[in-house]
């Protein structure tokens, strides 16, 4: 993520922005999907960068009716697949150079 300035967001604003309940956010944290800056704080704050990830987790749960453990696993695997795809693309192009 490109962020010149470290921006954080409070959990109440986060829940409103992504349209989830604080309970759902608590589930995400307990499954390790996202991490608050300080878990012991009275009101959690999160790095601005995680907003998209949280939105994605909420969408997967709602659209595919998966439980939170499943969502956590799905996100982990999706990230891995993304990384592999990028690596694949790089290697493919390098290979093509040798065969040009």
């Amino acid at each position: 993520m490109v962020s010149q300035v470290e921006v954080t967001i409070y959990s109440s604003e986060l829940c409103q922005r992504v349209a989830i309940s604080s309970q759902e956010l608590a589930e995400m944290v307990s499954h390790g999907i996202v991490q608050p800056c300080d878990q012991r704080a009275v009101e959690w704050q999160f790095d601005e960068a995680v907003v998209t990830e949280i939105a994605r987790a909420a969408r997967l749960r709602r659209d595919l009716q998966i439980d939170w453990a499943g969502v956590a696993l799905a996100l982990q695997l999706l990230e891995e697949v993304d990384g592999l795809r990028r690596e694949n693309e790089v290697l493919r192009r390098r290979l093509a150079r040798l065969e040009e």
Partner: protein
């Protein structure tokens, strides 16, 4: 309007039982979910599948649909579809936000009691975020020019219904050191909020367009340098392109195919200085030549006494 074949969309037979349809829906939903699928029209396909399920999972709606299907096949089964006059959907109706974005076919036949304005205006709601794929050339990362970006946003009325589309144009200065896959957030440039709510954001997903000469590895640029066999053997001085001005490079004598030569600071700009340019040598053969050239090759072969496949016979 277009007639939607819900059974075909889910890949089931029209007489499939409920559990078969449910399984098919679940499989399709996983396959086409936009967060999972990489296909261009994943979102549209996902909506189609969700719409089909909305109708087929409800016994009353499914019965209605089967009737419409029968009528359609009696009319020849082709061309635009017109709902029968006085058509009233049976079964549960009323506004279900999950139905938003379904086809005209669904809207006119199955959406039931939802009408514009019923239930009052939508409560204040923050605008949706938009993710845009932004292809950039490697040259853009070293240039100071802003890049024009154009995208379309849906427009909503106060009831939360889509009433049109606007095109937005922005000029975006690509920050130095940006890499492929990175996302740049443009606050408040997304879909307008309903009521007094804030607009959503735009996320530009950077995608580096493949360059004809260079490959990218982190902040390093990799250039494949073709050299003649004698150049690799004897060494030479060549001019190598960079993203800006070409540089002069010495190829050492006795170089191998695949050798790497690093030129510090001539790669992509990064947040902490520049990456490097890495030249990878690729020894290429000249095209087949005449007899006199081949004689020279033959001499070389005899004098060099080189077996490239020595390690095979062990």
């Amino acid at each position: 309007m277009e007639f939607k074949d819900y059974y075909a969309l889910l890949g089931v037979e029209p007489d499939a039982d409920e559990s078969t349809i449910k399984t098919a829906y679940r499989r399709m939903a996983r396959k086409f979910h936009p967060d999972i699928s990489k296909e261009d029209d994943a979102e549209a396909k996902f909506k189609d599948v969700a719409e089909a399920w909305q109708v087929l999972k409800d016994a009353d709606k499914r019965a209605d649909y089967d009737q419409l299907r029968l009528m359609r096949s009696q009319q020849g089964g082709r061309g635009a579809f017109e709902p029968p006059p006085g058509w009233e959907p049976s079964g549960g109706a009323g506004f279900d936000p999950a139905d938003a974005g379904f086809s005209d076919f669904f809207e006119s036949l199955f959406a039931g009691a939802r009408q514009s304005g019923r239930g009052g205006p939508s409560p204040e709601r923050r605008g949706r975020d938009v993710e845009i794929d932004l292809p950039i050339f490697l040259e853009d990362t070293v240039s100071v020019e802003a890049k024009p970006v154009s995208y379309r946003l849906p427009e909503y009325n106060e009831y939360g219904q889509v009433i049109g589309e606007t095109t937005k144009n922005l000029n975006v200065k690509i920050p130095a050191g940006v890499t492929g896959g990175e996302r740049i957030r443009l606050k408040g440039q997304g879909v307008a909020g309903v009521g007094n709510a804030l607009a959503g954001d735009v996320y530009l997903r950077i995608r580096l367009v493949p360059h004809p000469l260079f490959d990218v590895e982190g902040h390093n640029l990799i250039v494949t340098v073709p050299v003649a066999p004698w150049e690799a053997a004897l060494g030479t001085k060549i001019e190598v392109p960079t993203l800006t001005t070409p540089i002069k490079m010495s190829i050492p004598a006795g170089s191998q195919n695949g050798s790497k030569l690093r030129v510090p600071g001539k790669g992509l700009p990064g947040k902490a200085g520049h990456g490097d340019l890495i030249a990878v040598l690729k020894v290429v053969m000249p095209d087949a030549a005449g007899e006199d050239i081949n004689q020279l090759w033959q001499q070389l072969a005899e004098k060099a006494g080189f077996d490239p496949r020595a390690q095979w016979s062990r």
